[in-house]
Symmetry: C2
């Protein structure tokens, strides 16, 4: 059996309560006694039972991160986020539980809340975000949404400035003389898509350009996402001179499609990605992209959550981190 606090107490001829207070830094214990306890704890490699402590304290020192089950389609994106999350958690001594969404997201959240498996939840999953949010609002479990800016002023979120990011990309292309700019979207991400689309349309309108429905199309999720969609753009009677992709993966596959059809990037076609994942440095040419500070977003989300775990009555924290255009080789003057 594992060593318990009782073993320590017996060994030192103290009561368990004193040992507990000594280890948790309470004041009601003599200096000398505390030292003895700490030494014994070290000697026996004593660590308090996680379950027992959680039960008594009503705190688990765990936070949950809910991610989509299609996580393997967004490996780089995700791992940057998670890095930030783990960084922030490590500082506070909390641990991370990873939940992948199931078919019934709300049932899953119900269990997590009612069984008190975690102290709080970072909602990254996007499947049925609205339902998930409205459920969590009825529970007392702190939560924060990661990656989406939420309209409801009562919910905390950490996202990046989508409108601004997309606008920066558009302005870069427009000022480079492009007028036929395609948007290679992801319709299955309606929340992000609609924001980006708005900026796309606004930029065109402000530039006095027509909005051509043919130039907005969607990549489908899967391996080589965006490959087929890019090809269909290249089948248009009048080709676009620039493409903004929903993310870097799509941009990379668009690059591949263009290359296969001997459309030269950036000479014949400019391509802009989104997110600035590491791979965007590895293409030929390197991707111009809108950088989202993914790691920082993860870190910030964890911090926001932890502050709510500490006190859930503080007003909601709603953060849009700035997006930044990174100009590399995949775009040029028309």
């Amino acid at each position: 059996m594992a060593v318990t606090i009782l073993d320590i107490a017996k060994h030192l001829d103290l009561s368990v309560s004193t040992v507990s207070r000594a280890l948790n830094g309470y004041g009601d214990v003599a200096k000398e006694t505390r030292k003895r306890v700490e030494e014994a704890a070290k000697e026996f490699d004593y660590h308090p039972s996680d379950a027992a402590r959680s039960l008594r304290q009503k705190r688990t020192n765990r936070v949950g991160l809910l991610i989509p089950s299609t996580i393997h389609y967004m490996g780089e994106f995700f791992s940057e986020l998670i890095r930030g999350v783990t960084l922030a958690l490590a500082e506070s001594g909390s641990n991370l539980m990873l939940y992948t969404t199931t078919t019934d997201e709300v049932a899953q959240l119900t269990r997590i809340c009612r069984a008190r498996e975690v102290d709080g939840i970072i909602l990254f999953s996007a499947d049925k975000l609205d339902e998930a949010i409205s459920f969590l609002k009825t529970e007392s479990l702190p939560f924060v949404v990661l990656g989406h800016s939420i309209n409801d002023p009562a919910v905390s979120f950490v996202a990046s400035d989508n409108r601004g990011g997309m606008m920066a990309a558009m302005q870069h292309l427009l000022s480079s003389g492009h007028s036929r700019i395609a948007y290679l979207a992801r319709y299955d991400q309606p929340r992000l898509h609609s924001q980006r689309l708005l900026s796309y349309q606004q930029a065109l309108t402000e530039a006095g350009l027509e909005i051509d429905g043919d130039l907005v199309t969607s990549a489908s999720i899967g391996t080589r996402t965006g490959y087929r969609a890019m090809n269909s753009l290249l089948d248009l009677p009048v080709l676009p001179t620039a493409v903004i992709a929903f993310n870097d993966q799509i941009a990379i596959n668009a690059l591949q499609a263009a290359s296969e059809r001997h459309v030269s990037v950036p000479d014949d076609l400019s391509i802009v990605g989104y997110n600035d994942i590491r791979s965007s440095l590895s293409t030929v040419p390197q991707l111009t992209t809108v950088r989202q500070p993914l790691s920082e977003m993860g870190k910030k989300a964890a911090e926001v959550l932890l502050s709510r775990v500490h006190d859930n009555d503080i007003p909601p924290i709603r953060t849009n981190l700035p997006a930044e255009l990174i100009i590399r080789g995949s775009t040029s003057h028309v």
Copy 2:
């Protein structure tokens, strides 16, 4: 406050023990009573407290996955593994705790074990694997190593056939007429590296070729890993005609370096990757690579661990899943 088993018991005028037995499927409860209990539990959305249950049952229904803190450098690789892990865990009703390694791995493992935070651990971290293993062997916590084949016959692992995979790549190149074959390694992964190096050398020797030390070099971890190393290979007085990279990321960056120096792949240079991550389909040309069944490995590792959680006295399960050469456009006849 959350609803407890006592609330259900009071509401139904039963004892807590009966409610517990009813919900957990024990025999000692009348059909009618069980039905009433189940209905009440559903009505109140009752879920037993995770902490209380863990404490009493000495089982947490959680397993840990230990990953390196440099996880963001291996996003795709990692997310495929994790997908398999979560798939297997979901089937068994277990949850996943994600631990990133800290400076003192053993101290971290000590805490995890002694605090009984999880039922078992999947060791994916490679930093000080030997120390970690020898520590875990002294504890009673079940564990399995993921991604490395371990010599010690007492430890369970799930890996893929490194020797075979590397050998397949070499044979492919040799039979295509290549004789100057470089190996773009990762010295900081000594375990995997040494196995691959052995196969590399063996294949050359069997083909009656000299082993040229200049042709074995190492990529360093970081963004664009392998870019600089590839460039130094291209600076050699006599160029290699083929390169086997330690992983696909390195291969992709090697591809980029070659392209920038107008070395045509595969005409002037063949490049082989390793792992078959999704991105290996997105390059121009697409990567020839050695496929490791990453998702299956993760799944298998979780299954092996769970079987040990169920009964830790079963003999070690040691699995090398087959690696498979996938021939695509980045390699050709010399």
